[in-house]
């Protein structure tokens, strides 16, 4: 992506207050680049987050934003999209927010194949609450809430998305910004539910999954000419961890109709743009239907 890109349009007046070195900085810049590249108008972009360090994202991004409840970004964001499908709706949040308390909304939103993009800053820990275990914390990792080591098998967001009907499934690393920005461009362009699970290291509370740890392991699926239309291969790739970890697009399909394609009410146009109230004849017809 051209380094000369002028992303000021998507900058907010607020400087991010993440810890110096936090992975979320890279995610922020990448999304600013992606939206700029796509030539989006900030007024037509709504970034919706939950609660967490990563969920402070909208405050640092220059567009309409919603900073909602812990675990509810996906629910609120769908409400935004249902009400006004013309908007570009992007959800940003953390692993605890999305895969922990919010997992129900996440899975059901994917079933709907609603046309939104979900960006998860996965640092495998609860940052804002000062370092407890998260649904993606590795087995054995000691945290404030698991001093004897985590004993729950971590969630595999990619596989979960694959079996739940998401139609664009990718992974990023905030240490590989250009690839990340490119992936975001694809995700936002994609019609249907797109997920980008991003390794966004927590330099304060995650002493294992650090920048160097990921740098040693990550490789680009696209460079390896991975076939993004093959569900089974995507499932296999999603198993890789420990030694080699793939980033980039795992799976992509446009065979599945989007919610917007199927919702019958939209034939009257965008809900927020319809004129309200009933006409005389409509009233008479409705009143008679009760007689």
């Amino acid at each position: 992506m051209a380094e000369t890109l002028d992303i000021t349009k998507f900058k907010s007046k607020i400087a991010p207050d993440w810890c110096p070195g936090c992975g979320d900085f890279g995610v922020l810049t990448s999304l600013q680049k992606a939206c700029t590249t796509l030539g989006l108008d900030p007024k037509d972009v709504v970034v919706v987050s939950g609660i967490g360090c990563s969920s402070n994202f909208p405050g640092f991004f220059g567009s309409y934003g919603l900073h909602t409840l812990h675990g509810r970004s996906v629910a609120v964001a769908q409400g935004v999209k249902f009400a006004n499908p013309d908007l570009n709706v992007i959800m940003t949040g953390g692993d605890g927010d999305g895969y922990g308390i919010g997992i129900g909304h996440f899975i059901h939103a994917m079933r709907r194949n609603i046309n939104v993009t979900y960006i998860v800053m996965n640092n495998q820990v609860y940052g804002l609450t000062t370092g407890q275990t998260s649904p993606t914390t590795e087995l054995g990792i000691q945290t404030k809430s698991t001093p004897e080591g985590c004993i729950e098998v971590p969630i595999n967001p990619i596989q979960l998305a694959l079996v739940s009907g998401a139609t664009f499934i990718a992974r990023g690393f905030s240490g590989a910004q250009d690839l990340l920005a490119e992936t975001m461009v694809k995700a936002i362009k994609h019609k249907g539910f797109s997920l980008i699970d991003i390794f966004s290291p927590c330099v304060t509370y995650n002493k294992k999954n650090t920048y160097p740890w990921f740098r040693e392991r990550v490789y680009s699926l696209q460079e390896e000419k991975h076939d993004t239309s093959n569900f089974d291969v995507a499932m296999k790739k999603a198993e890789e961890w420990d030694t080699r970890i793939p980033i980039g697009v795992f799976y992509e399909t446009t065979d599945q109709a989007t919610y917007e394609d199927l919702e019958p009410a939209y034939k009257f146009g965008t809900p927020v743009k319809q004129k309200l109230g009933l006409g005389k004849d409509e009233i008479t017809a409705l009143v008679n239907s009760f007689k």
């Binding site: 907010s12 007046k13 607020i14 207050d17 900030p42 007024k43 037509d44 709504v46 919706v48 609660i51 402070n56 909208p58 405050g59 220059g62 567009s63 309409y64 934003g65 919603l66 900073h67 909602t68 409840l69 509810r72 629910a75 609120v76 964001a77 769908q78 409400g79 935004v80 249902f82 009400a83 006004n84 013309d86 908007l87 129900g104 909304h105 059901h108 919702e263 019958p264 009410a265 939209y266 034939k267 009257f268 146009g269 809900p271 927020v272 319809q274 309200l276 109230g277 009933l278 409509e282 009233i283 409705l286 009143v287 009760f290 007689k291």
Partner: protein
């Protein structure tokens, strides 16, 4: 109630879930409605799909009926269980209609003066196909004769109901009804009833239908829900109409999603609503506070049922008042409205959407099972009263100097002009964390106590503004009444009924119904109650939640109360009885009444 009015009749239809009780009852009620009679039908059902004991109470009269009444004139019994349970509740002069080839009724099952209207329904039904519900239609025909109601009216309704199923079905049903009518004519003594039928066609609807219709009329464009009795009726009415009127009707994965989606939709500019009952509302409370903090308009209906917990899923109660008052942490602006009649449920729903837009806060419509699920004839609605007020909504065509727009501007009314996503030059972030006028959160770098106070006061000021604007509570009846009833929600109706009877007996009675529950109109309610001689609150819960709220907000303790929490609705008889005792002065006033 019937006994006090000869030009009225009560009919009960009882059997098991799945026996087709609702359709018998609806046909009868519709026929009456079309002939110009008033009807009120309350269905007492259970949380089971087949079996169990279900009975529909239909109160029919030439004058407006306020409730289901107490005892019945006619009982259509579709099984023996029904005879055993209700045979003794049939009034003298009335009778029990049943299939004598299926059910064996002992004289001891019926009270004295109650006729045995057994019919060989199986034999008769055989002539009209083998549908088991045909004997219900026969009973209906017999009833028409016994209450001296025009058979054609019944036939007409049956025809319109079944016409989509073809002539054969229509003829079978009409035929069966006629056969029932004729059998009764030949075998039972002629009816004592006589009706002046105005022929005025009235609407016949439930409170839930009125709420759903109100939402449609108010321009609701996004309705989310998770099924829950007794709120599902709203979903069931809107779902088939969404694609006809451009409403996105969405069943969600749970109530948390339903409420949070509605908040998102409301924030984005679509009039959004969700409905549930107490259990689902529990899960919605966090997002009620969210809406208040984002200042997003949203309407949420809680249709109360018997609690606590799963409780009595299909039964009446008014036990969620404290729940909605305490919904979500902290202090924030919210509006709570309790509709009290089917008509009012329609108008109140429209009002909820307007108030949500004007005050940019969550509005809770607090209904109850009886109000939401009973059927009633409704006089024509006045659509000139249906006005749409979006409040201080900035047009999406507007522009502003970048960085100048303050979403949460501190204003004298507390209301800040609102821009929705897509509006040029007005970008902001709406945050659930405490924020400044421009929306920037203040909880991370330094939680400035001064800014915090400004924002708290601004939000809460909206309630002072609302208090000035809301319609004032009105005392119905004479200033010098001997007794003043206090009600909220559906109990309004049984009390109206009671008051008619008491007035007939010459009592001076007044009535205060509390519709606007929050912000509470403490000054007006307090003044009204303090001006009364004897105050008497009728509500459907154990702890007397409204009685307590009134004391909390006004310092006034209501003298007497009648509470019910057995799941069944109030009947006029028990209210009249208590009121008369109070008038006689033979009920001691509640401990706190009168103390400072």
């Amino acid at each position: 109630m019937s006994s006090s009015n000869s030009k009225s009749v009560i009919v009960w239809v009882g059997g098991a879930a799945g026996d087709g009780i609702a359709s018998v009852a609806e046909t009868l009620a519709k026929a009456c409605a079309r002939e110009g009679l008033y009807t009120y039908a309350y269905n007492s059902y259970q949380s089971v799909i087949r079996g169990g004991h279900v009975y529909m109470q239909i109160n029919i009269s030439e004058k407006k009926v306020w409730d289901q009444g107490d005892l019945t004139n006619f009982l259509i019994a579709l099984n023996l269980d029904t005879v055993k349970r209700h045979g003794k509740e049939v009034l003298p002069g009335g009778g029990v209609i049943y299939n004598k080839e299926k059910i064996k009724v002992e004289p001891s099952d019926l009270g004295t003066g109650v006729a045995d209207y057994g019919i060989p329904s199986s034999t008769i039904a055989a002539k009209f196909g083998k549908s088991p519900v045909m004997q219900n239609t026969i009973a209906l025909g017999a009833l028409a004769f016994l209450m001296n109601f025009p058979m054609d009216a019944v036939a007409e309704v049956l025809t319109s109901t079944f016409k989509k199923k073809g002539d054969e079905v229509v003829n079978a049903n009409v035929g069966a009804a006629k056969a029932g009518y004729d059998y009764a004519k030949e075998n039972f003594k002629p009816s004592t009833y006589s009706w002046t039928l105005s022929k005025t066609h009235r609407m016949f609807m439930t409170g839930n239908q009125a709420i759903a219709f109100g939402a449609l009329a108010a321009g609701c464009k996004f309705y989310t829900a998770y099924p829950m009795t007794p709120a599902s009726g709203v979903l069931h009415w809107l779902a088939p109409r969404g694609h006809k009127y451009g409403i996105v009707v969405k069943q969600c994965e749970d109530e948390i999603a339903a409420m949070n989606m509605a908040v998102g939709g409301g924030h984005t500019g679509a009039r959004s609503m969700t409905a549930t009952s107490g259990g689902g509302f529990s899960l919605m409370t966090e997002a009620v506070g969210l809406a208040a903090m984002l200042e997003a308009p949203v309407v949420v209906a809680n249709v109360q049922r018997g609690g606590p917990s799963t409780g009595l899923p299909t039964k009446q109660e008014q036990g969620d008042l404290f729940q909605v008052l305490g919904a979500s942490q902290g202090d924030f602006p919210k509006i709570i409205i309790a509709p009290f009649t089917v008509e009012d449920a329609f108008y109140s729903t429209v009002e909820c959407f307007n108030l949500a837009d004007i005050y940019q806060c969550p509005v809770i419509l607090l209904s109850d099972l009886q109000l939401s699920e009973h059927y009633e004839t409704v006089d024509d609605l006045d659509f000139s009263k249906v006005k749409i007020d979006r409040g201080e909504l900035i047009p999406t065509t507007a522009t502003a100097e970048p960085g100048t727009y303050k979403r949460y501007k501190d204003t004298p009314t507390g209301i800040s002009p609102r821009a929705i996503p897509g509006t040029p030059g007005h970008m902001y972030v709406a945050a659930s964390d405490e924020h400044d006028e421009d929306g920037v959160v203040i909880s991370d770098v330094f939680t400035d106590p001064v800014k915090r106070i400004v924002m708290m006061n601004k939000r809460m000021r909206k309630m002072d503004t609302a208090l000035k604007a809301l319609p004032k509570p009105q005392l119905i009846g004479p200033k010098d009444a001997d007794i003043t009833f206090v009600t909220w929600g559906s109990t309004y109706n049984v009390v109206r009924d009671t008051i008619q009877t008491l007035e007939k007996d010459g009592a001076k009675v007044s009535h205060l119904n509390i519709k606007y529950i929050w912000p509470f109109q403490a000054k007006e309610v307090g003044e009204i109650l303090r001006s009364c001689k004897k105050t008497f609150i009728v509500e459907g819960n154990y702890t007397g939640q409204m009685e307590r709220l009134v004391r909390q907000e006004t310092g006034y303790s209501i003298h007497h109360h009648l509470r019910k929490y057995d799941g069944e609705p109030f009947g006029p008889e028990m209210v009249i009885k208590e009121a008369k005792l109070i008038l006689k002065g033979s009920v001691k006033v509640s401990e706190l009444a009168g103390v400072r």
